[in-house]
């Protein structure tokens, strides 16, 4: 195969692999912001908690990281659910209008970021941690990718599709979709709005936690690692259209490919490129690509 085609394939598959994680993280934030109206700037901290828990479970107890998905996921869901029940529901009821709630919940989430991050610093220390799992090369049409990257992509796509089916097919999914459209009317139609919003927030945290478990397989961990993922998730949900779950799923892959292309030419500018696209998008089409 010619050299240039291998490079293009390399970038495309690399972008998809990166995009899988972005999609998962962004779907979680989309549930929290698009439905529950909490711009959770502490989203990345749930990723960090998921990653560090996996690290400890794997290196101390020897539990397989893929099994950790089933342990860490539900625990983080419960943490997210309870956080919303206690903190954010209270703020939502106290806020005079939706705009005030968005501002106060953003600041409360910022407080959470500091609480979670510094508890992790006290518990795990500031050093970078890493472990090796499924770290061997797999050959795809001449380009070589490590196996754990492919596992990550598989799980990201699988979870994305499963959650989409859950939203479309189940009764709770319907309640979530109605809450996303109009919380007040939904509660008049008999949806227990506080519970549904808390479940959404919990699911958002769950996806972040799962993303954290997957990320821990291939990047070094540090208590301060969360924020960069939060920032990327914010970009993706604006890119895909606020409140649109499929939008953030596809947006994640788009941003992943853009990131891989920029990294190919000028690695240190990839974050700047994300923000440039993001700010351009806010100015030209703030509704996002798939926004209504």
């Amino acid at each position: 195969m010619p050299e240039s085609i291998v490079t293009i394939l390399d970038i495309a598959i690399g972008g998809l692999l990166l995009g899988g994680i972005y999609a998962l993280i962004a779907m979680g934030l989309s549930l929290q912001y698009g439905v529950a109206r909490v711009l959770n700037i502490a989203h990345g901290e749930f990723i960090m908690i998921g990653a560090f828990s996996t690290f400890t479970l794997y290196t101390v107890l020897g539990i397989n990281p893929l099994v950790c998905l089933a342990i860490v996921g539900p625990i983080i869901f419960i943490i997210g659910f309870l956080l919303h029940q206690t903190l954010f529901t209270r703020l939502r009821i106290a806020a005079p209008n939706p705009g005030a709630y968005e501002a106060s919940s953003l600041l409360a989430a910022f407080g959470l970021l500091f609480v979670i991050q510094n508890l992790a610093l006290l518990g795990w220390g500031a050093d970078f941690r890493a472990y090796s799992y499924l770290n061997f090369g797999v050959n795809i049409w001449g380009a070589i990718f490590s196996a754990n990257k492919l596992v990550i992509l598989g799980f990201a796509v699988g979870i994305g599709v499963a959650f989409y089916l859950f939203l479309i097919r189940t009764r709770l999914g319907k309640a979530i979709r109605s809450a996303a459209q109009d919380p007040q009317t939904a509660s008049l139609m008999g949806v227990n709005i506080n519970r549904v919003l808390s479940i959404c927030f919990g699911f958002g945290a769950l996806m972040a936690g799962i993303a954290g478990v997957l990320i821990s397989m291939r990047v070094p961990l540090n208590p301060a690692m969360g924020l960069q993922y939060t920032l990327i998730a914010i970009i993706v949900i604006v890119l895909g259209g606020l409140g649109s779950i499929p939008g953030s799923f596809i947006g994640g892959f788009i941003l992943g490919i853009i990131g891989e292309v920029v990294t190919h030419f000028e690695p240190s500018l990839s974050l700047a490129a994300y923000y440039f696209i993001f700010m351009l998008l806010l100015l030209v089409r703030p509704k996002g690509i798939f926004g209504k």
């Binding site: 903190l87 703020l91 968005e102 501002a103 600041l107 407080g111 510094n118 700047a272 440039f276 703030p286």
Partner: protein
């Protein structure tokens, strides 16, 4: 301007108290010196950032997270124009230039983005900090090949007096703006933007100009701060934490009163100076907890707590205040 307003007793007594406090502050280096001067300079810096934030975001209701960007622009102007060797321009000129540079950035950003509503504006201004940081970092690494820059060393007392002057200018601007027609227009935008536009307020101009005005003081403070840091790189200059701190300090102190943000900034700056070096994790952890608790239980800040307490102590006789 209406002179009668200044004669009313509502203006005289707070004015007198402010003047006495100002004289006390100005003589501080003579009486205490050393560490206290450094600490008070830090408090003044945070107070400038917080009051500038309230100047625009308080009445207009647009939550700006651009403070760190304006501060960083000031710091960088300071580092570029006040190098530790071969300095040409005097400090005060650079302070004004730094303020102007921040204002120009604010004018550009404001003209582009102030039509964005609510949370979009907050996200955009936060993105601005990261964008400038990343581009500057790339520039320093690949074009100029400078890892960090050394800034002219200025003695602590000079830094203190310049910071005090910027602080006084910020407070005076804040005070008179709130009482002016312009400030009223800004407030009407915060309450109902459409109604304000229909009443003949040039909505875009008022927003952009106030945004630029608030950026001026932050940029000027940035220049002075650069001389205190003496060594900077893009990550030191554009610290995104400084975008959230003014918001927290303002909410903690209470934005309903003119002295609320100053009280909030003073308490936080003091805590930071005393705790951060020894127990950084504990400080940040406390910071987070206090933020959550204040938002949950003290929506009007600690200053808002005083009339509440007073009412309770005096047995509800002053319920009308």
């Amino acid at each position: 301007m209406d002179i009668t307003r200044f004669k009313s007793k509502g203006f005289f007594i707070p004015g007198l108290i402010s003047l006495v406090l100002l004289i006390l502050l100005a003589t501080l280096p003579l009486s205490l010196g050393g560490y206290t001067v450094v600490l008070v300079t830090t408090i003044l810096m945070y107070a400038i950032l917080t009051v500038s934030w309230v100047l625009f975001s308080g009445p207009s209701g647009y939550m700006s997270l651009a403070s760190a960007a304006f501060f960083g622009v000031g710091i960088y102007i300071g580092a570029l124009l006040l190098p530790n060797t071969g300095q040409v321009l005097p400090l005060l000129v650079v302070v004004v230039l730094g303020g102007l540079a921040s204002s120009i950035v604010a004018l550009g950003v404001g003209a582009l983005t102030l039509r964005l509503r609510g949370i979009y504006f907050a996200i955009f201004t936060f993105g601005l900090v990261v964008l400038i940081l990343e581009v500057l970092n790339w520039w320093e690494h690949t074009v100029s090949h400078i890892r960090g820059r050394f800034v002219m060393v200025v003695d602590n007392e000079t830094i203190f007096y310049v910071m005090l002057a910027i602080f006084v200018a910020t407070m005076l601007t804040f005070f008179f703006l709130r009482r002016s027609k312009f400030g009223l227009a800004l407030q009407s935008i915060g309450q109902n933007e459409e109604a304000a536009a229909h009443s003949g307020v040039n909505v875009t101009m008022v927003k952009v100009l106030t945004f630029a005005l608030s950026a001026f003081f932050v940029g000027a403070a940035g220049v002075v701060w650069a001389t205190r840091l003496t060594y900077i790189d893009p990550y030191i200059a554009f610290n995104f934490f400084l975008s959230f701190l003014p918001v927290l300090m303002a909410i903690f102190g209470g934005i309903g009163q003119i002295y609320g943000p100053v009280v909030g900034a003073a308490i936080f700056a003091y805590l930071q100076e005393t705790l951060q070096t020894e127990f950084p994790e504990v400080y940040m952890l406390t910071f987070g907890i206090v933020l959550v608790v204040v938002i949950l239980y003290l929506p009007n800040g600690i200053v808002g707590l005083i009339p509440k307490l007073w009412r309770r102590i005096s047995g509800g006789q002053h319920a009308n205040t």
